[in-house]
Structure formats: C-alpha cells, structure tokens
C-alpha cells in the first residue's frame, strides 16, 4: 500500500497530536468555556455567555497584588537559579577534566530530586526555623542576639525553596549548551589574547544564552503556576495567583477560577514569548 504524501505527514504528527489534544487542547477548551458560564452559587453552572468574570478579575486590585507578588517570586527565583545554575554548569563543563567525573557530578545534582518535593520543602523548617540550625549557629557564634525571624515563613523562605527546587532546571540546559562549546574556540580566544573575563563575556555567556533561556522558561512557568510552595513556606502570609483560584474553587466559584486560569495562561505565554524574543533558542533545539 502506498500512502500519499499528505497521509504520511499526518501519520508523522499523530503521536504529538495524541498527547496535545487530550492533555492540552481539551482542558484549555473546557476551562475557556467554563470561564464564560454563570454559576448558581452551589457548584452548578449554566450557559449564559458573559465576560463578566473576566471583567471582575481584571478590575480587582487583588489580582494586581497577586500578580505582583507572584512575578516578584518568579523573577527572584530566576535570578538566583540562573546565577547558581550557570556556575555549577560552568564548573562541570570547564573545570572537571574527566568526562566521567563530570557526568557523575551532574547526576549528583539530581540526587535531591529523588525525594518528594514536599519532603524537600519541609526539610527547610528545622534548618530555618526560629529554633533552627541556622539561628542556633548564628546565636552560638555570637553574631546575633535575637533569632532571625525572616528565615522561615517569609518571602525569603519562599525564594529559598523555589531556588532549591528549580536550579536543576537551569543546570541541565545550561550544561547542555556549554558542553557544546568547542574547547578549541576557547583556545582560539586565548590565542587572540583574551583574558578570563573576556572569554566569559564574549564567548561563554553568549554561547550559553539559549540554555539560560530554556531554563528561564522552565523556572518562570513553574513558579507562575505554583501555589503550594508559597502556601507552605510563607506560612500562609503571602498569597499567589494560583492560590487565589484554589480559594475560588473551594467556594465553588468555578467560572471565576476558570477566567483567572485563562488570564494566567495568556500571561505566562507572553512571558515565554518575551524570553524567546530576547534569545533565539531554535539553534538549541535543532542542532
């Protein structure tokens, strides 16, 4: 049997469609439809087309505060995880001579991920708490006289937990793009008289840009879509965008939650679009 070119093309995209349609397109459609429906206040919904929920969400000052708080966490996490991820990857690629050891250390980076997210988060509590190890050490060393309160149940703790959780998503793509830098290119730069800083600024960073961008996409979209870390690590003192939908759902306000979800999806897509505008990651994917 000879398939037409058209048919072959469709067959080629079928596996991707089989994933995207049920797990992305259908949920998005369901949420989009729900967002323009009315609720009876007891969990029931009926079709009566309205954009009122969008209007409510868009005009509420709370929405802006929530986005401000969540974007702040996303950007702080991005900065710290990119910084740490860059140097870890740099060390693995350029300072570990043996490929085997580099691969081993790379795997060690993933060890914390063998335990659940929740356990990793909770493990910060005995460390950062009022009676925690950090405070006791600082008190013992005489550096402080009062336990530091900001260490746990604070924005600081939220950022620490996010960075701990997400730095691996920076390390992997940056490692990947750095590992592709031909060592002779570095040598050629040395030959031309470039110092360490010149090589970093003119060779390593530009050539790792696509890895940093890929990592940034992971970090930003995960932080924007998360509420659990904020809830636990801030001790309930800070809300988040997704935390707000969660509240809506628990009081049966499905259309409002759906409208917020659509808005969040659009905003995250815009953020990703901005990242892609700054760095062309196509090279990373095609090569």
């Amino acid at each position: 049997m000879k398939l037409s070119r058209n048919m072959t093309g469709w067959l080629n995209v079928t596996p991707l469609l089989a994933v995207l349609v049920p797990f992305f397109i259908v949920p998005i459609l369901v949420v989009s439809v729900a967002s323009v429906m009315q609720t009876d206040g007891y969990g029931g919904m009926f079709m009566d087309f309205t954009l009122g929920k969008y209007l409510d969400v868009a005009t509420s000052a709370l929405t802006y505060n929530l986005y401000f708080a969540t974007i702040k966490f996303a950007l702080l996490t991005l900065v710290f995880s990119a910084f740490i991820g860059f140097w870890v990857a740099y060390f693995l690629v350029f300072h570990v001579r043996s490929k085997l050891i580099a691969m081993g250390l790379f795997l060690v980076c993933t060890v914390p991920f063998w335990t659940s997210n929740i356990i990793r988060m909770i493990s910060w509590i005995p460390l950062l708490g009022k009676e925690g190890l950090v405070n006791q050490a600082l008190l013992g060393a005489g550096l402080i006289h009062q336990p530091l309160e900001f260490l746990l149940y604070s924005s600081f703790a939220v950022v620490v937990a996010y960075v701990h959780q997400l730095t691996i998503f920076m390390i992997v793509p940056i490692f990947n793009s750095m590992a592709r830098i031909d060592k002779r290119v570095i040598e050629a730069a040395l030959d031309a008289g470039a110092g360490r800083w010149d090589i970093m600024r003119m060779i390593v960073i530009p050539m790792s840009k696509s890895g940093i961008a890929l990592g940034a996409i992971f970090v930003v979209s995960i932080v924007m879509g998360d509420f659990f870390v904020v809830k636990v690590m801030s001790g309930g003192g800070t809300a988040s965008v997704v935390g707000a939908f969660y509240e809506d759902i628990s009081v049966l306000q499905y259309p409002t939650a759906a409208a917020s979800a659509v808005i969040l999806t659009i905003i995250v897509m815009l953020m990703v679009a901005v990242i892609l505008r700054v760095v062309d990651i196509r090279r990373e994917i095609t090569l």
Binding site: D182, R184, V185, E187, A188, A189, L190, D191, A192, G193, A194, G195, D198, M202, I203, P206, M207
Partner: protein
C-alpha cells in the same frame, strides 16, 4: 608594533603528559625567519604537540623554544607574537565574520575607529567583503578558512601556526586553498608552520619539510631534498615516490658496490664519498619510481651504467600523464614504476608479463 624576527629554534624539546611516556622527545629544529615550514607525519607522531608548544598552548617538559632569539617558554601567545589557525578553524560561531576577525583587536583594547580600518583592510585582503556580516555557519569551507586565516593574521604575528588547515576541505578545494595559503605567506612575509599528514601538501607548500615519526624528527630539509634524497627507509616510504630495496653488500670496488637481497640477485649501487661501505653490511637503497625503465627480458639487455632486477607485472593503473606499473620484484610489498604514457603504449605491458626493471646506477640513493 616592533618587527621582531620570526626565526624559531627548538633545543632539546621534549613533552610528556604523564611523566613516563613522551609525546615528543629530543626535538632540535631551526626554522629560518619567513620560511614556510611543514611538520609532516602520521597522526599521533607529535607534530601537533610541537605546534602547540610553539604557540604557547602547552609548555615543554624540558628544552628551550626560542623565537627571534628569545626564550619564550612560559610566555602567553600574545607576548610570543604568534597566532594559531586551529584545526577545523574554531571560528566563534555566534560572531559575524567581521567580529571574528576583529576579536583579537577588541580584547587588546584597540579603539573602535582604528580597529574598523584594520579589519576592513583585512577583509578586503582575503576577499570576504560581501560576507562580512554573515555567521561562520553560513559560509563555505573555503570561506571559513579565509576567515580563520584573517582572524589569525590581524594581529600581525611574526609566526603563524596552522594546525591541519586544509583537512576540513574536499580534494578540489584543498588544492585551491593550498595556493592561497602560499600566496598569503608571501604577502605577509612571516614564518608559517603548517602541520599536515598529507605528503603532497607538504611538498607543494613548504620551503622546509620536517618529517616526524613517534615523537622524533626523521628528516628536516627542503622539499626537493626530502623527496629525492630521503634520509632513511621511513622517510622514503612515508613521502612516497620511491622503491626501497634491502640487501647485503657484496663486493666493493672503487666506484661501485654490489647489493644482493633475499629475493633479487646482485645489483650495482653507487659509492658515495660520505658513506663507507663494507662487504657484508646490511643496506637499504631507494630508487625513484620515475627513474625506472621497464624492458622485456631477452632484448637488448641492460644498458651500460645501469642495473636491473627482474619481476612480473601484477597491476597496471593508467594515471593520464604516466602509467603506474606494479611489479612483483625485489621481495618488497610494492615495487612500482612510473612509465611515461607515450613510452608505455609503444609496447604496452599486461598483467603477468615478465619484465626487467632497469635504472641508472647513479640514480639509486643510499638510505641510512
């Protein structure tokens, strides 16, 4: 920039990476200023190690490296005023042709105006004007090579080091770019050191060919000498174009000696002043493939002043201007005669024919 001399001297240079085995050992070499020198040898012979030590990317374990009379061991490439053109070029993939060429000037802090003028002149020189804003991946192999050459030459080095510069190109382009390298070297008037494993490339380009094997120099001499008067069996076989015969010396008289091998009967060899030959001594000789004449046995016989061995034809390859005739003779793997095309077809040989391979005694060359 001062115009320091680009003559190079390696004295007793050795390099070991692990402390026990030596990548190169006992290297003594003098390369005159403005010479085109090729380091030739099979992969792993240490030629790239020598290049990298001259470039300052590696330090010798022992020995001195002098450029323009000063010891440069421990100096970085900029202080040595050398520039290297890397194998497969190692262009900066994220920078345009212009920025690649300007790189060295930029990191040396040259002001933008002066830098642009210099880069423009260099782009002009290597004929890359219309490609100045392209990325390396958008260029052909030959164009990439020009960028690499321009990038290395922009700093006005006194020595340019080229690591297998032509190996990334296809056959046709290689011959074209070879001519371009040679022209560039004459234009710049500086010392070029070119590492290659291709004999023809070395012979075509170099003023001085350095043949290497297993970390040591086997012969360093002008190209015609390396080709026509190889020092030993290794050089003769590596450069090619020679038939090597091994045998034991028989009689020695004033001007001639005889040599007999396991698989050929005594042939006459010349006696040279620089060599003392004794009866019973083992000796290798080389006879150029194009010095050999093939005669049918039982004809006029071997002419006066010539000598011959007998063999049978095992292969004939037509090469255009000559015909390569492979013989089973002398006990060697390959005994080859290059017969001029017209002469061959006067009396074409075919596989299985018995022939006499004849050469003038004085054309044989004694190997060390």
């Amino acid at each position: 920039m001062s115009t320091g001399k680009g003559d190079i001297e390696l004295a007793g240079v050795a390099k070991s990476y692990d402390g026990s085995t030596y990548a190169v050992d006992g290297i003594n070499l003098k390369i005159p200023d403005g010479a085109y020198c090729c380091l030739l040898g099979p992969s792993g012979c240490g030629k790239s190690t020598i290049l990298r030590m001259i470039a300052g990317h590696e330090d010798p374990t022992v020995g001195e490296i002098l450029i323009g009379g000063e010891d440069v061991v421990g100096l970085d490439p900029v202080e040595r005023r050398t520039a290297m053109m890397f194998q497969s070029y190692a262009l900066f993939p994220h920078l345009s042709v212009r920025d690649n060429i300007a790189f060295a000037l930029r990191v040396r802090g040259m002001a933008k105006g002066a830098r642009d003028d210099k880069v423009d002149a260099m782009i002009e020189k290597v004929q890359l004007g219309e490609f100045a804003n392209r990325l390396p991946a958008q260029l052909s192999g030959g164009q990439q090579q020009r960028v690499a050459l321009a990038r290395a030459a922009i700093t006005e080095p006194r020595v340019l080091l080229l690591d297998e510069p032509l190996s990334a190109l296809d056959e046709h382009l290689r011959i074209k770019m070879r001519a371009e390298l040679s022209r560039m070297q004459r234009d710049l008037g500086i010392t070029f050191i070119h590492v290659t494993h291709t004999q023809m490339e070395a012979i075509a380009l170099a003023d001085m060919v350095v043949v290497m094997d297993k970390g040591q120099i086997r012969q360093a001499a002008p190209a015609p000498e390396v080709y026509a008067r190889p020092r030993d069996r290794y050089v003769a076989e590596f450069i090619g174009g020679q038939n090597v015969l091994s045998g034991t010396i028989g009689q020695v008289n004033g001007v001639r000696a005889t040599l007999a091998g396991a698989r050929f009967s005594a042939i006459n060899i010349p006696i040279v002043q620089s060599r003392r030959l004794e009866s019973g001594q083992m000796l290798d000789i080389a006879v150029r493939r194009d010095d050999i004449d093939l005669l049918r046995p039982g004809g006029a016989g071997v002419p006066e002043g010539s000598t011959a061995i007998e063999g049978s034809v095992i292969g004939v390859e037509y090469q255009g201007n000559f015909v390569k005739v492979m013989l089973e003779a002398g006990g060697e793997d390959e005994f080859v005669a290059y017969v001029p095309e017209r002469r061959f077809f006067e009396d074409a040989l075919s596989i299985g024919d018995r022939v006499l391979a004849v050469w003038q005694i004085d054309h044989a060359h004694l190997l060390a």
